[in-house]
Structure formats: structure tokens, C-alpha cells
């Protein structure tokens, strides 16, 4: 996906059937946006409370994006087009689209998952007080995500990026009556914003490279490619950009918001916090890959270290969760880290990483939706309230099983192919430690996945509700996604020509390689994990079987390594309560004190002068008056006697001074 080639309108020779779609890819953004607007405007008055706009819109967008992808299936090249947006001084901004294979894949992922979620929510959100509003934000989010994906320039990307953030905030806090939900929403927004700030600076740095003339990604890359910018500058810029990824894709140390974000409705978790928005961070690295490659090596090393920590750390956390959504959330963290780590491996890793993004989107969305279905049935998030649901919810069970096995990386499901490819790349690039991390994480993943399935679907039901299978609006998407989960992995299968690599690549297409021993190794690891999970959780116990053996480590995991506590204790509370109070105190007492002090001083000065006047003039007068009053001879005295003394005294003083002045000068 050499964007340099995209200088012209169309950078390929042959016309394809999908060309029209590519050239008009902006429509794919616009349609959900219009849906959102329509829903907002007419939703409440429309039968079905307006969900129809979103479903139709996103459905249309999905079909459209298939058209876009078709272009690349046919072997088409990238396309870039833009219109003027505005000019500010030397800086010229445009609204544009940059459609290459990566974009094609992303639009399909986004619209597909979004469509599923839109449909699914019909059932899940049925009867919700703010059903219409939910659809508005859902559609708006879809539009924002698509904006990010098709954007050809940094500022437009940033706009979409932040709008996604606010949609995420709105949806996490959808049930804002409960304080925890709104807390989670704020936490999500602020934490990602912390990452966004360096991201923004990174963007600014990139724009600065062009001499503040353009924000076009292609031109920025071009400028960088000229090699006139110091590597250090590029490295710092890359690192700053990575901040955006860390925030949005919830990498360590900004990962804390994602588990909390599970407070939102489950479809939201599926769409935003599993399949799409969180993947935007990964997408970002891919889109600006040039910058990362031109940066010094240590940048990518940092990226891979961060990713490795996240992958392993989050996977471990997933083991101890009781909340089914949190299991999935930590799993998502871990899998996102997989992708990031993959990208940190270079050009080969790019394709692998994105392939994992692609597959993960489907099976993780599936898992979430299944979890939602379960939650919908038992009215609880906690697996301790579940159990034995495989009988009452067969569709959910089977689809979830497919998703779980895909997550665990079992052949031939989606996860197997993508994880395998990542392992291969790590091996080929000779980053052995990462290879081991991947492997270990895969095993742990399989373990907690199995634990989740066991606790949910096997054993005896522990809850109070009467679980039942979800309506077809919910199971339909489950089935669709399950089918996809089975299918999409094959797109990257080396045995099947690994077509995915033909769509998403950097600079040049690399043939995917299949290394049997690696595939075996990974499958073995996964099976080991699954087996362990099955053995340990086959029978329900009051206490988690791991709690005793893990000892203090269990506590550490329960407290999420104390990272959240650390943030609250040392950053949030100090800033929100202590510092702000201090500043306010400083403001009221010191700064305003100076102001009021000046006023008081003026008044005091006035009093001094007035006192002087009073004492020196009228005070004496009054004194005289009193004396006179006491002697009973009031009437005979002139109370003003001292006034003259004062006057003459002063003026004599002036004369004396003048005389001195005259003589001396």
C-alpha cells in the first residue's frame, strides 16, 4: 500500500468492477451519518423507534463496502481523492479519502460488525428508555469509525478519532442513572484522551515536517521519505503517535479504561470495545507505518515491549474475572496487544497484525454478543450467577463455543490462522522473546476461554432468573458472525493463497508462509490451555480452584496489579481534589487576595488620609470644642482656631522648603 503512488487520482491500470465504489468511498461514511441524523430527527416518531434508519443505513454501507473490497479482490490499487476544506495561513486542509486494501478490509469489518450489532440491539435494547438515542450514537459511531478508516489526512482522522471517543463515552454511560456507568464513561474518555494528547502532538509534528502546508498522510510520508528530517524527530513523532494507540487500543499503561467500559450495553462492547474502535489504534500504526519504519529502531522495540506486557498481563487478568464481559475485555486487551506486537515486527508483521485484527473483530464481536445474549437471559454479568446454560440457550452456546475456540486458536477457525501467522512472522524476524510471549499468551487465552465456557454453560445454573434463548433478532447476528468466524480465517490461510495478504501489505506483497511445527506448537499450547480449563472448571466449587495455589498472586490479579488503584490514589484524586482545591485556594486567597488587598489598601490609605485630615484639622477643632464645652464658655470660642494653625503651618513649611530649594539649587 504505497501511498506515494497515490499522488494521482487513480494509481493502477486496470479498471475494476469495484472502482466506482472506491472512488465514492465517502458515501460509506455519509450513509451512517445520515442515518444518525434521521434517527435523531425522526426516530421517536418512526414505528420501531427509529432503529430502521440505522439498520438500513449501515446495511447499505455494508453492501457498499463489499463493493469497495471487491475492487481489491479484483486486484485494484489504492485511490485518493479530496476536496478543499479550508485554508489557514500556509496550511491547507482537505476532506479526502484514501482507499487502499487496508481501508477496504476495515470498512468491511466495521460495517459488518456494526450491522450485526444494529440488528442484535433490536432485541437486546428492546424496551430501553433511550432506545432511539442508542441507535443515533451507534450510527454516529459507525460513521466516525469509517471516517478514520477512509481519511487521507491527519486532521480528518483526528476528528473521526475523537468523535469515536465521545460516542464511546456516550454509550458506556448509556445507563447513566447508575454512578458506576458514568464513572466508567468518564474514565474511558479521559484515559483515551491522555493518549490522544501525545497523538495530537505527533500529528502536529508530522504537519510541521511539511512546513505547515498540508496534513495529507501521503505528502507527510513523502516528506519524511526524503530523509531531511532528523531520525530523532521522526522517532519522537512516532512515539507520540503511538500514544494514540496506547490510549485508544487500551495498551499498557492506559489499558485501565477498557474493562470498566464494559459498563455499557453489551452490543456496544461488541462493536466499539472489541471489534472496531479499539482496533483503530492498531489501524493508526498501520496507516502511518512509514513513520514508524523511518524512526529509530528503539521505537518499535518500545512498541513491542508495551504490547508484550499488555498481551501477557491482560491474559493473566482474564483468568480471575467473574464478570463474563470483563473476561472478554481483558481478552480483547490481550489480543489487541497481539496485533500491536505484530505490527512492531515490521512489514511482514503488518499483514499478520491486520489479519489478526480482521479475524479478531469477528470472533470477539461474536463472543461479546453471545455474552450479551447470556446476560440478557440471566440478568447478570457474573459467571457465578450462570452455569448450565447450554441446554436453555443452545444457539448461544454453540455460537459462543465457535467463538471461543476461534479465540483459543483452534484449527480451522479464524483465530488459528491469524495467530499462527503472527508466530511465523515473529519467528522469521527472529524476535524470539516475542515468539515465546505469543505462545504463552495463546495458551493462557485458551485456558481462560475454556474457564469462561465452562462456568457459563456447564455445571448447574446458579442464578435466580429463568434463562431462555434470545429472540431471533439476537441469534441471527450470532449465527452470521459465527459463520464469518469460521470463514474469514481461510482468507489468510497460506494453503488457500492467503488472499488477505494481497489486500493488506506495506510497499510490496509478501507471500504468507506456513510453518508446520509452529502451527503444531501453537495448537498444542491452545489444547493444553483448553484441557487445563476443562479439568479445573469441570466441577463448580465455591472457591475458584486457582485461588489457593496462586496465593498472593491471586490478590495481585484481583486488584489488577493495583494499577487502577495507583492511578486513582496518585493521579486522579490528587488532581481532582487536592490540586484543584489548592489552586482554587491560591486563586481565592492569593491572587484575589492581592486584588482585594489592593482595594483594602486603598481604603486603608483613604482612612489614613482621612484620619490625618480629621485629626490634624477637625480633631483639633473638636478637641477645642470639647474643652470649651466643659468650661461652659462655648460660645466665645472660635472652634476653627486650629484650622488656621494647620493651614499657616503647612504653608510656612512650604515656604521654608521653597527657600531651601531655591538656595540649594
Amino acid at each position: 500500500m504505497n501511498v506515494l503512488a497515490a499522488e494521482g487520482e487513480v494509481a493502477f491500470e486496470a479498471t475494476t468492477n469495484g472502482l466506482w465504489f472506491v472512488e465514492h468511498a465517502w458515501i460509506v461514511v455519509l450513509v451512517p451519518l445520515v442515518s444518525a441524523a434521521l434517527t435523531l430527527a425522526f426516530g421517536k416518531r418512526t414505528p420501531g423507534k427509529g432503529a430502521v434508519y440505522g439498520i438500513v443505513g449501515v446495511g447499505a454501507a455494508f453492501l457498499f463496502s463489499l463493493g469497495v473490497l471487491w475492487h481489491f479482490v479484483e486486484g485494484g490499487g489504492p485511490f485518493e481523492g479530496s476536496i478543499d476544506w479550508f485554508t489557514i495561513g500556509p496550511l491547507h486542509l482537505e476532506l479526502g479519502i484514501l482507499v487502499d486494501g487496508l481501508t477496504g478490509v476495515m470498512v468491511v469489518v466495521v460495517t459488518a460488525v456494526s450491522l450485526c450489532v444494529h440488528v442484535y440491539s433490536l432485541g437486546y435494547m428492546h424496551g430501553d428508555e433511550r432506545f432511539t438515542w442508542f441507535y443515533v450514537v451507534l450510527s454516529l459511531f459507525t460513521a466516525a469509525m469509517l471516517t478514520v478508516v477512509v481519511s487521507n489526512n491527519l486532521i480528518q482522522l483526528l476528528v473521526g478519532w475523537e468523535v469515536m471517543g465521545i460516542c464511546s463515552y456516550l454509550l458506556i454511560g448509556h445507563w447513566w442513572e447508575v454512578k458506576e456507568n458514568s464513572n466508567a464513561a468518564i474514565k474511558a474518555f479521559i484515559t483515551t484522551r491522555v493518549g490522544d494528547i501525545p497523538f495530537m502532538f505527533g500529528i502536529i509534528a508530522l504537519i510541521a515536517v511539511t512546513g505547515f502546508t498540508t496534513t495529507n498522510i501521503g505528502e507527510v510520508s513523502h516528506e519524511l521519505g526524503l530523509g531531511e528530517v532528523s531520525p530523532l524527530f521522526v522517532s519522537v513523532a512516532a512515539l507520540l503517535l503511538f500514544g494514540g494507540t496506547v490510549g485508544k487500543s487500551a495498551q499498557f499503561p492506559l489499558h485501565v479504561w477498557l474493562p470498566d467500559a464494559m459498563a455499557g450495553p453489551t452490543p456496544v462492547s461488541a462493536l466499539i470495545h472489541a471489534a472496531t474502535m479499539v482496533a483503530a489504534g492498531v489501524y493508526l500504526i498501520g496507516r502511518l507505518f512509514e513513520v514508524f519504519l523511518l524512526a529509530d529502531e528503539w521505537v518499535l522495540t518500545i512498541v513491542s515491549i508495551v504490547a508484550a506486557i499488555t498481551a501477557l498481563g491482560a491474559a493473566l487478568l482474564a483468568i480471575v474475572q467473574d464478570d463474563i464481559k470483563r473476561v472478554l475485555a481483558y481478552s480483547t486487551l490481550s489480543q489487541l496487544a497481539y496485533m500491536v506486537a505484530g505490527l512492531s515486527l515490521g512489514e511482514l508483521g503488518l499483514t499478520a497484525g491486520f489479519f489478526h485484527l480482521f479475524t479478531h473483530a469477528f470472533f470477539k464481536a461474536l463472543l461479546f454478543l453471545c455474552a450479551g445474549s447470556v446476560i440478557h437471559a440471566v440478568h447478570s454479568n457474573n459467571m457465578s450467577d450462570m452455569g448450565g446454560l447450554r441446554r436453555s440457550m443452545p444457539v448461544t452456546f454453540w455460537t459462543m463455543l465457535i467463538g471461543s475456540l476461534a479465540l483459543a486458536g483452534i484449527f480451522p477457525l479464524a483465530g488459528f490462522w491469524s495467530k499462527d501467522e503472527l508466530l511465523v512472522v515473529a519467528h522469521e524476524e527472529h524476535v524470539d522473546w516475542l515468539f515465546i510471549v505469543f505462545l504463552a499468551t495463546a495458551a493462557i487465552t485458551a485456558f481462560y476461554t475454556m474457564r469462561m465456557v465452562m462456568l457459563t454453560f456447564f455445571g448447574e445454573y446458579k442464578g435466580q432468573a429463568h434463562p431462555h434463548e434470545s429472540p431471533s433478532t439476537m441469534t441471527g447476528p450470532l449465527i452470521a458472525l459465527a459463520a464469518a468466524t469460521v470463514g474469514v480465517g481461510l482468507l489468510g490461510a497460506p494453503q488457500l493463497n492467503a488472499v488477505f495478504g494481497k489486500w493488506v501489505f506495506f510497499e510490496e506483497i509478501h507471500e504468507a508462509v506456513f510453518v508446520p511445527w509452529i502451527a503444531l506448537l501453537s495448537t498444542a499450547g491452545a489444547l493444553l490451555g483448553l484441557a487445563a480449563g476443562y479439568v479445573l472448571y469441570r466441577e463448580r466449587k465455591a472457591q475458584d480452584p486457582l485461588q489457593a495455589p496462586l496465593g498472593p498472586a491471586w490478590n495481585l490479579l484481583q486488584h489488577r496489579y493495583y494499577i487502577d488503584d495507583f492511578y486513582m490514589r496518585w493521579i486522579v484524586y490528587p488532581v481532582r481534589d487536592t490540586w484543584s482545591t489548592a489552586v482554587n485556594w491560591f486563586n481565592q486567597v492569593v491572587i484575589d487576595g492581592v486584588v482585594n488587598g489592593a482595594a483594602a489598601l486603598t481604603r486603608a490609605f483613604a482612612q489614613v488620609i482621612a484620619w490625618f485630615d480629621r485629626t490634624a484639622i477637625d480633631g483639633a477643632v473638636n478637641g477645642a470644642g470639647e474643652v470649651a464645652g466643659r468650661t461652659g464658655n462655648v460660645l466665645k470660642y472660635l472652634q476653627s482656631g486650629n484650622v488656621q494653625w494647620y493651614a499657616v503651618g503647612l504653608f510656612v513649611g512650604v515656604i521654608a522648603l521653597a527657600v531651601v530649594f531655591i538656595r540649594v539649587v
Binding site: F605, V643, F651, V654, A658
Partner: protein, 490 residues
């Protein structure tokens, strides 16, 4: 004898009027005594017409150069006569209802105004002295005119003693000037004589100038001769306070301008620092003490002191540069004119309130917007104008002085400007106290206040004039500019 009778016409008419008032008063029955006022008013207006006929007639010199009618003189004569109209207008009800000796009051008032009118033409020490006395002496009497009121009597005594004392000091200075200049009393010739005065007389000359300045400093209530003003204003009948605050002190300035810019212009190096100190001290004392006031007349008195300080500042801006002196002079004159309008307005408003609240505390203005809306709006405009804030004429007055100060340059000009600026800000505080009462507080008695039509008219006209000056300040600025005395000295 070179007497230009046309030039003296305003004075003659005024003198005739006041004699007529005196005579007619004798024959008027008690209930018709107030008739003296319209009579006086007619005379003043006639005199004003006479002044008008002199406009553009060039400089007219009488009595061997001791009495000059030029633009400067005409401007001030006109100003005084207009002031007279206003003071007469606001006096009518006040004196009619207060049980005063009306005829005599109008007679004294007109006499005082005669002095005022003479002042700007007097280019001779003797004439200046006489004119000053003519302004002051009836003033002493009028200040004590509330005969039954101890306050008023005390006011009279204080005013009188300080007045006479300062006159004595001034005269002593004049006598020395007479001596050192070799027997000159005409201002222009004093200037010539002082230009090449022998060195050994220098010191005595400076002392003499100082003595003379003292006499006028009293008149304009400059620090440290300011303290009589609040007491006297408070004690006097309110219209008399208006007269003292405007006519009397402006007369002092008229005299001072002539002395300093004509007779002693050559010695500016000596007196500029004195005026600088005087002005800084005056405005500071005035403003800061005003912050403490609770009585409106005292407030206006201290405000007047502060304003005097601003005007005195223009004296401190004199240098060798004629152009900058001209700016300073024009700024001073313009400020005086605007100052007169707003102060008259403020006093007129005070007169209106005094009928219901004779104590005239600031708190008595509470709810005035309801009880007397025209007065309230007018008073607010005057206060804002005194504070020098747009959209009022007072803004230009201050601006002109700032401008002159900056134009003067050096370190003194800007330094004085800064002092004045700080003072202006301080002054806002107490000026706003009055509108605050009027608009933010409720009156205890919320019935409509009965305000004499003449007083309302005066307030309304003054308000309009103040706003009009803001919109079109050019006439004032032009007037001030052409009426310069700069250059008449050596």
C-alpha cells in the same frame, strides 16, 4: 482714558441688575420677594447676550491694559453667566421655601458673579485682588445664610477666616511682587520685568510668587487649603454650595491661569514642581477622603477637590515649549468647562433631593430611579462623567489632560498622568456609590418626589449637554484651544 464701553457692557448690565434687584426688593411685599430671581435672571441673560455680541470682536483693551476682553475672558464670562443662570434657577424654590432673605441673597449672588465676570479680564494685580474679593466676600455671607443653622454659621466662620487669611498672604505676596518688579501691577509688564530681574531679587520673587499662589490655592481648594470646602459646602445652602463649587473655584482658576501663564510664565521652572506636588496631593487627598463620605455634599466637595487637583496638573505641565503649553492650557480650560457642567448638574440634582431629605446623606438617594427618574438618570450621568468614563463628557476632559501630560513628556508628564490615572480609578468607587443607591436600593418612601420644574430642567439640560459633549467634543476642545493665554507672557 481708554475705555471700551462695549467691552464692559456685560459688567455694566450685571451691576445695574444687582442694584435694581436691591432697590426693587425694598418695595416688594414678603410674598413676592421671589420676584428678585426672575429679575436677576433677566439681567444675567441680558449680560450673556452682551457677551455674545463681543464674540469675534477681537481683543479689546481698556484702562491702560489692566482690563482685557479677549477670547479667554469671553469664554469664562460666558461660563460664569451660564452658571449664574443655573444657580439662580435652582435657588428659586430652595430660598422661597426656606424662609431666607431672598432679595439680599440674589443681590449677594449677583455681586459675587460680578466678581467672577471681572476676574478673567483682570490683567492687573489690583484688579485681580479686587475681583477675587468681590467673589469671596458675598460668598462668606451666603455661606452663613442659613441663619438659624449652626452648621451654616460655622461654615461661614471657617470659610471666612481661611479666606481672609489667604487673602492676607496673597496680598503680602503681591506687595513683594510690586516691589521687586519696580512698581508694576499689570500682569504683562510684571512678566517683562521678571524676565530680567537681578539675581539678588530672585529669591524674594520666588517667595512672592508662592505667597500669591497660596491665595488662589485657597480659592480652588487645593491641598493643603482644601479643608474648608467640605465643611462650608455642607453648611451652606445647597445652591450656594453649587456656586462655591463651580463659580467661585473656577474664578480662582481663571485668576490663576492668568497669573501663571501671563505674569509668572517665565518662572515656570520654579513653580512647576510646586504645582506638581500640589496637584498630586490635592487629587489624592480629595479622592481618598471622598471614599469615606456618607453625605452627598461632602462627597461632591471632596470630588471637587480631586477635580481641582486634575486641573492643577495642567499647570505642572508647563515647559519652554509653547505648543505643549498650549495643549496643557487648553486641556485645563476644557476640563474646567466640562467640570462646571457636571458639577452644576450634580448640585442641581442634590437640590432636588434636599427637599425631601435635608440631611442629604448618600443613602437618601436610595430608590431615586423610582421617586425621581429624571434626576436619577441625570445624577448617574454626572457621576459617571465625573469619574471620566464614556459615554460622558468627563471622559474627554480627562483624556485631554492625559494627552497634555504625555505630550509634555519628560519624566514628570507621564508620572503625573499615572498618578491621575490611579486616582481616576479610585474615584470610580465613590462616584458609583451614588448610582448604586439610586438604582440598586429601594427608597423608604416610594412616592413620587416633587421636583421643581426648573431644577428638573437644569438636570435634564446638563445631562444632555454632558452626553452631547461626549458625542461632539469638538466645540469644547476648539473653545479651549482658541482661548489660550499662552504666549501673552514673555
Amino acid at each position: 482714558m481708554d475705555v471700551d464701553y462695549h467691552a464692559l457692557l456685560p459688567e455694566f448690565i450685571l451691576a445695574g441688575t444687582l442694584l435694581l434687584v436691591l432697590v426693587v426688593d425694598v418695595f416688594l411685599p414678603e410674598r413676592a420677594k421671589w420676584f428678585a430671581m426672575p429679575l436677576g435672571l433677566a439681567g444675567v441673560v441680558a449680560s450673556l447676550v452682551a457677551v455674545a455680541t463681543l464674540i469675534g470682536a477681537g481683543t479689546r483693551v481698556s484702562f491702560g491694559g489692566t482690563y482685557v476682553v479677549d477670547e479667554f475672558a469671553l469664554l469664562f464670562k460666558g461660563f460664569f453667566l451660564v452658571t449664574a443662570v443655573v444657580v439662580l434657577s435652582v435657588s428659586l424654590r430652595y430660598f422661597r421655601e426656606g424662609g431666607f432673605y431672598q432679595g439680599e441673597y440674589y443681590f449677594l449672588l449677583l455681586t459675587s458673579f460680578l466678581g467672577c465676570v471681572m476676574m478673567p479680564s483682570s490683567r492687573d494685580l489690583l484688579l485681580l485682588f479686587i475681583a477675587l474679593e468681590l467673589v469671596s466676600a458675598p460668598g462668606f455671607l451666603m455661606a452663613a445664610f442659613r441663619k438659624g443653622d449652626v452648621k451654616s454659621n460655622e461654615a461661614g466662620v471657617k470659610f471666612f477666616i481661611i479666606g481672609v487669611l489667604s487673602t492676607a498672604v496673597m496680598l503680602f505676596g503681591m506687595s513683594l511682587i510690586y516691589g521687586v518688579t519696580g512698581g508694576e501691577t499689570k500682569l504683562a509688564e510684571i512678566a517683562t520685568a521678571l524676565a530680567d530681574i537681578p539675581d539678588d531679587l530672585q529669591t524674594l520673587t520666588y517667595a512672592a510668587i508662592l505667597f500669591v499662589v497660596v491665595g488662589f490655592a485657597f480659592k480652588v481648594s487645593a491641598f493643603p487649603f482644601q479643608f474648608w470646602a467640605p465643611d462650608t459646602y455642607e453648611g451652606s445652602p445647597v445652591p450656594v454650595a453649587a456656586f462655591l463649587a463651580v463659580a467661585s473655584s473656577v474664578a480662582g482658576f481663571a485668576g490663576l491661569l492668568q497669573l501663571m501663564f501671563v505674569a509668572f510664565a517665565g518662572q515656570h521652572e520654579f513653580w512647576v514642581p510646586i504645582f506638581a506636588a500640589l496637584s498630586v496631593a490635592t487629587m489624592t487627598v480629595g479622592n481618598f477622603v471622598a471614599l469615606q463620605q456618607t453625605q452627598i455634599v461632602r462627597l461632591l466637595a471632596y470630588s471637587g477637590i480631586a477635580q481641582s487637583g486634575y486641573i492643577l496638573m495642567t499647570f505642572a505641565l508647563v515647559t519652554d515649549d509653547a505648543a505643549s503649553n498650549r495643549s496643557a492650557f487648553a486641556a485645563g480650560v476644557a476640563y474646567i468647562l466640562i467640570y462646571g457642567v457636571m458639577n452644576l448638574g450634580a448640585f442641581a440634582a442634590t437640590v432636588a433631593v434636599s427637599r425631601r431629605h435635608p440631611a442629604l446623606r448618600i443613602a437618601d438617594f436610595a430608590g431615586l430611579r423610582e421617586t425621581a427618574p429624571v434626576i436619577a438618570v441625570g445624577m448617574a450621568v454626572f457621576m459617571i462623567s465625573l469619574a471620566g468614563v464614556p459615554p460622558t463628557g468627563g471622559f474627554w476632559g480627562k483624556l485631554l489632560i492625559f494627552q497634555a501630560a504625555i505630550e509634555r513628556g519628560g519624566s514628570l508628564g507621564p508620572a503625573l498622568a499615572v498618578v491621575m490615572l490611579v486616582n481616576s480609578v479610585v474615584s470610580v468607587f465613590y462616584y458609583l456609590a451614588v448610582p448604586r443607591q439610586m438604582f440598586l436600593r429601594e427608597a423608604a418612601d416610594r412616592s413620587r418626589m416633587r421636583v421643581p420644574a426648573l431644577v428638573t430642567a437644569v438636570v435634564a439640560v446638563a445631562t444632555i449637554v454632558i452626553v452631547a459633549i461626549f458625542v461632539l467634543p469638538n466645540p469644547v476642545a476648539r473653545l479651549a484651544e482658541i482661548s489660550t493665554l499662552v504666549g501673552l507672557g514673555p
